[in-house]
Amino acid sequence: MSDDARTDGGTVSETSAGASDGALSGVDGYRVLLYLGLLGMLAFFLIPIESGLVTSFKTSSGVTGSLPFAPPTGGTFTLGKWQAAFDALGRGLVNSALYAIPATVISALLGSFAAYGITQSDWKPKYKAPILALFVAGIFIPYQAVLVPLSQFWSMVPIEESLGFLWSLGINDDYVGIVELIVTHVAYGLPICTVLFRSYYKNMSGEMIEAARLDGASIRRIYRRIVLPLSGPMFAVVLIYQFTQIWNDLLFTLVLVQTESSAAAPIVLILAGLGTSLEGQDFALRMAGAFIAALPTLAVYIAFGEEFAEGVAT
């Protein structure tokens, strides 16, 4: 509303500029320039994607023989690269989902717990502040700073032995990496989840929580019956944000699963080395792979753009 009014204001002045020039084209001129700028930026953002997309459908000779942004012609068109990329990445898709989904859900839930415990309960702010500061700072810690201890830690934890029943079920013991990834991503995703939920809970009516207390509900009941049901929108934001983050992360997979030849290799890990083997750079294959790896997050993004933007902007 206020936005409309304001921009209207802006427009008006431009309109009157046009009018004082005595030409309607003046009005259009401004809008035309504006839209040219917008479209130019659109091109900037889309060209890498577009050229990647057309390239992914080209044969190797098509890749070197035609303009990178030109669509493939009859002779240079192939679905083979997608086929090959899918063959290479298919299991990675499954593996990625195996840890990305549980880690997302768990970190969102725990984040919601933590935020609720810190925000909507009554204990002294001067003790809350440092705890909160640690959560906030946790968002910004570069993973490198914890990598060596993390590998040490996971090599000391006899997690592989304790999950013996899984391997005896015929599951490849490489999948221990998936378990490690889940725990690791939960731990490092928690700070951002907590902070996102906190900003949401902070704006939740304190009077409403107090009303529930006066109505006789305990802290746990209040969470169960009031806060959790009202957290839906923020869960959407957090789940989407976390899912993209976890799905997209390479570093932890590199350290915990290590190699794309592992049975449990996540898709990003396979993609990172795809098409760069000794026989040279197969860009068409790399592009096809890139799209396959990006598909889940792109789908989420297109379906839930608003929530994504909200998560990102916080």
């Binding site: 609720y116 204990w123 810690i141 570069p142 201890p149 731990a187 802290i219 997209n248 760069t276 860009f283």
Partner: protein, 328 residues
Amino acid sequence: MTRNTDTGDDSGDAVTDGGVTEDASESGFSPIAALNDRFGSDFVESSQFWLPPFLLVGLFVYGAIIWNFLISLTDFSGFGNPNYGDLDLEMYTRALAESGFVDAAVNTFILLVGFTLVTLGLGLGLAILVDRNIRFENTFRTIYLLPMSLSFVVTAQFWAWMFNFNNGVINIVISSLGLGRVDWLGNPDIVLWAVMFALMWQFAGYAMVVYLAGLRAIPSEHYEAAKVDGASTVRMYWRVIIPQLKGSTISASVVLMVFALKAFDFLYSLVGGYRPPNGADILATKMVREAYANLNWAYASAIAIALFLMTLGIVGPYLYYQYNRGNL
């Protein structure tokens, strides 16, 4: 007992704890009541919610950082286990003496500052464009933000192709303009800027979103007051609107800088290996390389601490700023 099972137990405990708490605090004679007295009336009861996550973070993030620091004081390399009996600052002096470290630190700094500035600039421009009451605003915004949803790994594939010497879009375009081809990723003097450009492509949308929120928080009266005060559109933005985006700028820069510090994923994927193109080595890549390719664990830990301190230098003041504004 291992740490992992520990955390598992903890959350279990805490839940049962909660029940106990309630009863105990009512009876009034217990350490729980004492805790509540000291920290506030719900301290113990609410701890079932925040304590397990907090311990998890404390252990994995802060515990790990401390552990990392300890390792950086040892001589740990190769196989086996660190010897914590012999601690010194050798790794740090070694780092300062190594030109590779200094180069990586300088590159990190350049990337940090350069990337942040150009991305903020572009993001602001985009935000202003999008904020001008345009049609299809959502479409534009969605597309500008789209790269942000992609993995660094994916972006690296796209830009490796964009920057390709013979067939990349960029060289095709500039050579069709009559300029010579440029070896974007091979020339050590250029590669860092090329990387910066690709990262800008990925994150400009983020800066836009932050600025857009900032712009929309400015009351329309400020635009109108400036108009009535006689300012042209450009002057209005320059003198009245942009200065008010300070908060957005600060929070966006902090996040962008942290992204830049972490650009490891991008550089790794660009070449499919631990060693980024010459001239584009940053602390993040060097640390991982030293640790996982060269097994110089202690040295890598020292680099990690340097990186951490750099982050702290950025985030610390930011936290303080947020704290002062009552956001903590």
